[in-house]
Symmetry: D2
Subunit: 337 residues, 4 copies
Amino acid sequence: MLVVMQEGATEAQIQAVIDRLVALGFAVHRSTGVVHTILGGIGPAAHFDPTEFAVMEGVKEAHRIMSPYKLASRHFRPEGTRVRLGELEIGGPAVVVMAGPCSVESREQVMAAAERVARAGARVLRGGAFKPRTSPHSFQGLGEEGLRYLREAADRYGLLAVSEVMDSSQIPLVAAYADILQVGARNMQNYALLRELGAQNKPVLLKRGLSATVEEWLLAAEYVMNEGNYHVILCERGIRTFETYTRNTVDISAIPVVKKLSHLPILADPSHGTGRRDMVLPVARAAVAAGADGLLIEVHPEPDRALSDGAQSLRPDQFEELMGQLRMIAPAVGRTL
Amino acid sequence: MLVVMQEGATEAQIQAVIDRLVALGFAVHRSTGVVHTILGGIGPAAHFDPTEFAVMEGVKEAHRIMSPYKLASRHFRPEGTRVRLGELEIGGPAVVVMAGPCSVESREQVMAAAERVARAGARVLRGGAFKPRTSPHSFQGLGEEGLRYLREAADRYGLLAVSEVMDSSQIPLVAAYADILQVGARNMQNYALLRELGAQNKPVLLKRGLSATVEEWLLAAEYVMNEGNYHVILCERGIRTFETYTRNTVDISAIPVVKKLSHLPILADPSHGTGRRDMVLPVARAAVAAGADGLLIEVHPEPDRALSDGAQSLRPDQFEELMGQLRMIAPAVGRTL
Amino acid sequence: MLVVMQEGATEAQIQAVIDRLVALGFAVHRSTGVVHTILGGIGPAAHFDPTEFAVMEGVKEAHRIMSPYKLASRHFRPEGTRVRLGELEIGGPAVVVMAGPCSVESREQVMAAAERVARAGARVLRGGAFKPRTSPHSFQGLGEEGLRYLREAADRYGLLAVSEVMDSSQIPLVAAYADILQVGARNMQNYALLRELGAQNKPVLLKRGLSATVEEWLLAAEYVMNEGNYHVILCERGIRTFETYTRNTVDISAIPVVKKLSHLPILADPSHGTGRRDMVLPVARAAVAAGADGLLIEVHPEPDRALSDGAQSLRPDQFEELMGQLRMIAPAVGRTL
Amino acid sequence: MLVVMQEGATEAQIQAVIDRLVALGFAVHRSTGVVHTILGGIGPAAHFDPTEFAVMEGVKEAHRIMSPYKLASRHFRPEGTRVRLGELEIGGPAVVVMAGPCSVESREQVMAAAERVARAGARVLRGGAFKPRTSPHSFQGLGEEGLRYLREAADRYGLLAVSEVMDSSQIPLVAAYADILQVGARNMQNYALLRELGAQNKPVLLKRGLSATVEEWLLAAEYVMNEGNYHVILCERGIRTFETYTRNTVDISAIPVVKKLSHLPILADPSHGTGRRDMVLPVARAAVAAGADGLLIEVHPEPDRALSDGAQSLRPDQFEELMGQLRMIAPAVGRTL
């Protein structure tokens, strides 16, 4: 913690800041400059809001100088984390593609999708059974029936399965069917849910919140890890900006930034990231070129009939085209597919 | 729904769009211009994503032309909603001030806060028992013990009580103690929670999500109302922008915009909106001048010792100063306090 | 400047940072903690990019600890600046309203507008002769002819005149007719223009850029002041965010933030800030309640026929209603109108 | 133009909207639905603000249905534009790399940079002679002397030269030395400058504004093209968002979006886009993978001594590494380098 006092700050004001730093457990270091007194708080990073100092009397500026996450930081495991599920490794040399429909709509639909994505080279089948929909009047998912179909389709085609958990009460049910538990962007700061997932022994795929900084995202991962579950996979899925042509704006540099700051694997979801089928291929290629450990891609046997997110779902032939392109890009960045 | 075809779109492409509109239940209206064919879909607003059309072959642009919320729209109840709790009315002529600590930290603390805010003119006591904290290492709230203190303090000083529900599993507990159930910004799109709250008979205070448009916010209200609970109170608490001097950016025009689009009462929370004690007073005055039906203000007997959000909490004497200022502003906009 | 070294940073890496700090003119202060070495650079604020340190080998984090503007800072003139133009004082106890059409379209139009806004209590007449338009196919302004009409109308009705300068080549012309030279949001970082304006002896009305932080805005003011012209008036006119119902998002807390950080007067422009006539009144009231020193309001005798920005222009009767409301609000915050 | 009337809109209100549409030159088409009347305006896209309709009495919603740019639209030249400069072609099969220092600081510096970037495969030398700096106290560029060095270095190493024009008065000077005239992000809506550049016969490199939508950016290109200069090269350089770890957020999907909407070539500038040397390589790879026609890269012989933007400048050896990586990526997307 670093606090810069205003010109002419009184000794009493300086002392009040020192007292507060000491109360938070910092060793305090005082530098008296020609114009400004600067107080440095050194020690184990306490948990506090730096603004608390910024609004104290006589204070000019206050900065937190240490990142507030520990378990999720690169320093904690410099070699990087590989999440292993049987033979599959996420965060290793191979780029892992997870694909499938946004929602499980019927047994036929998820079977058809699974067959095509498996044949094209996907390793994990995605499909939602509980859907967070902006409007209460929209299709909300098939629930357990959907999970059953997802599991059956994954098993038949040799895939693993990932599905979203929207509420802590749904964890046992989803965990009974899926291999990876997904946290959606809208729930990235649902701390009750994160904590419960930290007590599970299944990997958690944690999507970035729509307006979350990378630091807040890593703190959300820290919530899960803090309960003992270190198998967290991050997923960049676009942030909200003023640009409306695409539904969200994929923050492509978040991929190398996360690689630098954290040891956790990171995927990209160009389907939600762009919201438009016609933008999925170029952005998927870009994500792999930027160093992503994998992709999450929506594929629907008949996107024009999809009950949710049809606009961003690829047709199976488009997915095959994408996989063909990725087979060119991955080796160019030293990865396999 | 309105779809503009590209120049030179083929008859087959046009027909495909017409078929999809019909499948969604629209009556389709076709206008052939010199350059572009325009297809209008008229009828009961179906629930769909307009981008679905934007990515179809031969389509230039697609626009949804009807707002997707109904129960929350001004048209549903043009005279406006007044939420009544005993003698208190939210959305009536009086500006209602809700105040108290961010978190309930101890019986003494909440009692001291309640005494001071009641004396200064607040009508509702706020205080969190479960705290959504960005870091898992921060204080997480007292749970039921905190709710008990909150209730006791409210009762002793003739106040109502509002407290946040973070997860649907907490509803029965919080509802046993609080008069108003608050949904935090991070949970604005936690649909499982919203639906459960729709089945309660207590008013819901719904904060705007950090990156939610007004339309998405009204759709979140629609989730609650759709289950039968029409007592929804909205609360503008700042959105995320590139400006970092304040923690969030209070969207002051959201107040008159909500008044125009919806019949629901709207409050403002300048404490979270600015994140800085020294900005709470001017922004609170501004919110009332813009037409807010009330305010949510953090007050702590000793902000410098607060376990959460101390930087944005007013001292009791500052809260009294604020109430004095509001007594000048409210009549200037035809309201009482 | 404060640089936090990574755990295990080498002595050579630390020395490289020290050398760079010294080269920039800092006195360097080194603190060796249990885990991290922290280097503080103290001295006259040099001009540099803190990221330069952030990307050096062995560096964990780097923070600039001193604001980079001096002349615009509150500390430079703690009592605040009052810009005087004859009897008019901007930044004094009176709230100053500047009003008139977006563009000068004809002699009749600006005369009609001037008469009505003067009668209602405005003190300055606004009107653009050169218009920055998003499309090259839109009306671009009357040029010198427009300036002549503006001056004539202002003189006839006892008003001062403000008009926008879009390029440094236009300064002599606009300065020949207007009392205040306006810099539009799109030109806030047009440094060639700012520098030229710094050499003028007329006040400069500097609008905030669409995506400028308060710090960048004050640095733009510093450009003007650095050339010797200290008569800078700031104007908050909305920033770009994800919300699209209003054209921009008025950052209401920027008003008290500027008051705290700077001595310069600050106005608000709710016409551009909201882009919608139906939102101008509540946001104008809010700005005055938040402490604005004045307002910039678009008024057109016949908004439905305006050649630019008709959607956000008030009719004269609406402007009169606004002035009536401001006469209630201003005294409530200790101001006159 | 499409206007949806409110339920219960009066015939007079409907007629007023029709009259305004007719006045703007639209053929009006009226659809009377069960609930809403919808008015469609068809015809040559007039230039107007759709909000003008949104604020009329009785109107519920208003949408512009035709994009406001023409010359910049893909439809205008479906095969795409190739900007040719001697043997160099921008927008053709080869990815064109432009590299060099942010500012020309000395003859030695630009010579050293030119030698290294030419040898590594760059085709165009970049270097600023006039620098837009956020602070007036920072280095502002060498002016004509810098342009002379740039030209000399480019000629010696067989490169073309690109340099920024900050003000229309600088055009003759910069055009006398550089082959491509660059418009910086801060000037993207400096219409006086754009118009002057439209009268030149040299290609214009137009950077995207920090908070400009793709539509606004294409409209800025339209300004240049409208004067007769069709040689416009677009450059994505990051937009402003809430994320602060990188200086800006590269909008990677803007590359395929521009390719779809426009015929103009598009480059990416990962140096300004990320503001951090350690993020330039992955983002540069991503841009090429997404379909960019070229890159703009800052390279400095000694970044730690750079007078501007050192933090984002590559060392020559890092640039060579980048070119090596691009030689792998480009063929994977069917391009040469």
